[in-house]
């Protein structure tokens, strides 16, 4: 049996918990936009470029989180540009980019003969979060939340109807760019928590679970954050109790919440 009183004094656990909660709080509202605007696959594509970011960071001697953040932001800008110029459907474009990025990442890893723990990259390494990571994550999270707060009304109007928003004086392209960059940054800090493969889950599942329980966009965003936080706590607990990997445990906990929320009858919105 695990000795809980001893665990309570272990620093790594508190770091892990803080990191998980930070990411969950931010991914609540951003996840809502991902659901409303059907951007799930977009998040996935950005996440797939994370491996490339890690290798670049290694080669250029930059902190991995920073390097991944920069790579994701660059990819987001590239995607926006391509979306406007290409005749291809968005999901085709995303499919091309996401897998090219993943392949490029793996090839560069072997070219530079970097020793990367692929498994921890793919599934997250929450228990290895250090104080440096935590500072960087806090700064990013606060930045994203502040931007969300200031742009909230504009983001909603933009999500409802882009042209209407544009006619009513919102600079649509800037709002779109802000949303993409926020997502890119979130992915960079979430990588440590749930890993590349599962980031989209952390984005989508709490928001989807919150849908049934909310009547306003604000409530849905807050509930999504709350469900995400609960999932982090439960997942972390499970990972200690049964020695399961933390990231997947968190995602499973979120899925459990989603299932429970589905039990509510359809009539109530």
């Amino acid at each position: 049996m695990v000795d809980f009183s001893e665990l309570l004094h272990s620093q790594f656990l508190w770091y892990a918990l803080c990191a998980g909660l930070l990411v969950a709080v931010v991914s609540g509202p951003l996840g809502c936009f991902a659901v409303w605007r059907r951007m799930a696959y977009f998040g996935d594509t950005l996440a797939h470029s994370a491996l490339l970011g890690v290798t670049l960071g290694f080669v250029l001697h930059i902190m991995p989180t920073l390097a991944v953040g920069a790579t994701c932001c660059l990819l987001a800008v590239l995607l926006m540009y391509l979306q406007r110029r290409q005749k291809l459907a968005v999901d085709t474009l995303l499919g091309i980019l996401s897998h090219s990025m993943l392949a490029l990442g793996i090839v560069t890893v072997s070219l530079f003969q970097i020793k990367v723990d692929l498994l921890s990259l793919l599934l997250g390494d929450l228990l290895a979060v250090g104080s440096h990571d935590l500072v960087l994550m806090s700064v990013t999270a606060v930045g994203i939340l502040a931007l969300l707060y200031f742009l909230w009304e504009k983001l909603l109007a933009f999500t409802l109807h882009e042209e209407l928003a544009s006619v009513e004086g919102i600079s649509v392209e800037r709002v779109r760019m802000a949303l993409m960059l926020m997502l890119a940054l979130l992915i960079a800090i979430a990588m440590k928590v749930v890993g590349v493969l599962l980031i989209t889950a952390l984005l989508i599942i709490p928001a989807a679970a919150a849908r049934k329980l909310s009547r306003t966009p604000e409530k849905m965003a807050l509930l999504a954050s709350l469900i995400g936080c609960l999932a982090v706590v439960l997942g972390l607990l499970a990972s200690i109790l049964w020695n399961t990997p933390a990231g997947p445990s968190i995602v499973l906990a979120a899925s459990l919440f989603f299932l429970i929320c589905q039990l509510r009858p359809l009539g109530s919105k």
Binding site: V35, W36, R37, R38, E153, K154, L156, A157, T159, L160, H161, E163, L164, A165, S166, V167, E168, I170, A208, R211, S214, R215, T216, P217, K219, M220, K269
Partner: protein, 226 residues
């Protein structure tokens, strides 16, 4: 002012240009600085994953509005009971009314409507046009309308601009409905579209050889006064 014309005539393109949603490839557009435009898009498809009430939608991005004003705006378009309804659950006609309420609630100087009666049954259509006319008188605003409902539009509008890649004809509805170009386009009833010119169009829509037209073409690309 009403824009009419067959599919692909360039009505929506002209509207998008005027609203600054598309940049013109040539020519320039003059707009009154600070012109308040109320825009009613063709349709608004909201993802059912987004919880949004009509009330919230009317208040969104409009700092001067309060709930009472939102209710008043809805009452004016005859949709007062919808205030608390979910935006995703509205029927086509209800949605059009809500969109109109939002456009009108901005106290616009120019009301721009892109096929406002899409998805509305015939009875509702004439009601909606009457409503637009009332709103125009109340707000004292200009109305620019894209429409396919010729019979209803012709009765209520001051000026008609008939487009088919170029300006076919324009003017007072009575004048336009007797214009040979209009008759060729739509027939004297609303007949299936047959467009016969005795002149050729370039791909750009300009008239290749003006020569002897059976109808009088203004020899210019669409003017952008309004």
């Amino acid at each position: 002012m009403t824009l009419i014309g067959p599919n692909g005539a360039g009505k929506t393109t002209l509207l998008r240009l005027l609203l600054d949603l598309t940049k013109p490839s040539s020519g320039s557009i003059w707009r009154l600085p600070g012109l308040r435009i109320g825009y009613m898009p063709q349709r608004l498809q909201i993802d059912s994953s987004m919880p949004m009430s009509v009330e919230r939608f009317l208040l969104l991005g409009q700092p001067g509005m309060d709930v009472a004003q939102a209710q008043k705006a809805l009452d004016r378009v005859g949709a007062g009971q919808l205030l608390k309804a979910s935006l995703a659950n509205l029927s086509g006609g209800e949605m059009q009314r809500v969109l109109l309420a939002r456009a009108a609630s901005r106290k616009p100087q120019l009301l721009v409507l892109d096929e406002p009666t899409q998805g509305v049954d015939v009875g509702g259509q004439s009601e909606l046009y009457q409503l637009i006319a009332t709103l125009r008188d109340e707000l004292g605003c200009g109305v620019l309308l894209v429409s396919h409902d010729l019979h209803l539009v012709m009765a209520a509008t001051d000026r008609v601009l008939c487009l088919n890649q170029h300006i076919c004809c324009h003017g007072h509805p009575e004048q336009v409905s007797k214009d040979p170009a209009y008759l060729e386009l739509f027939g004297d009833k609303v007949a299936p579209y047959t467009h016969q010119h005795n002149h050729q169009h370039k791909l750009s829509g300009d008239i290749a050889d003006a020569g002897e037209c059976i109808h009088d073409h203004p020899k210019k690309t669409p003017s952008n006064k309004k």
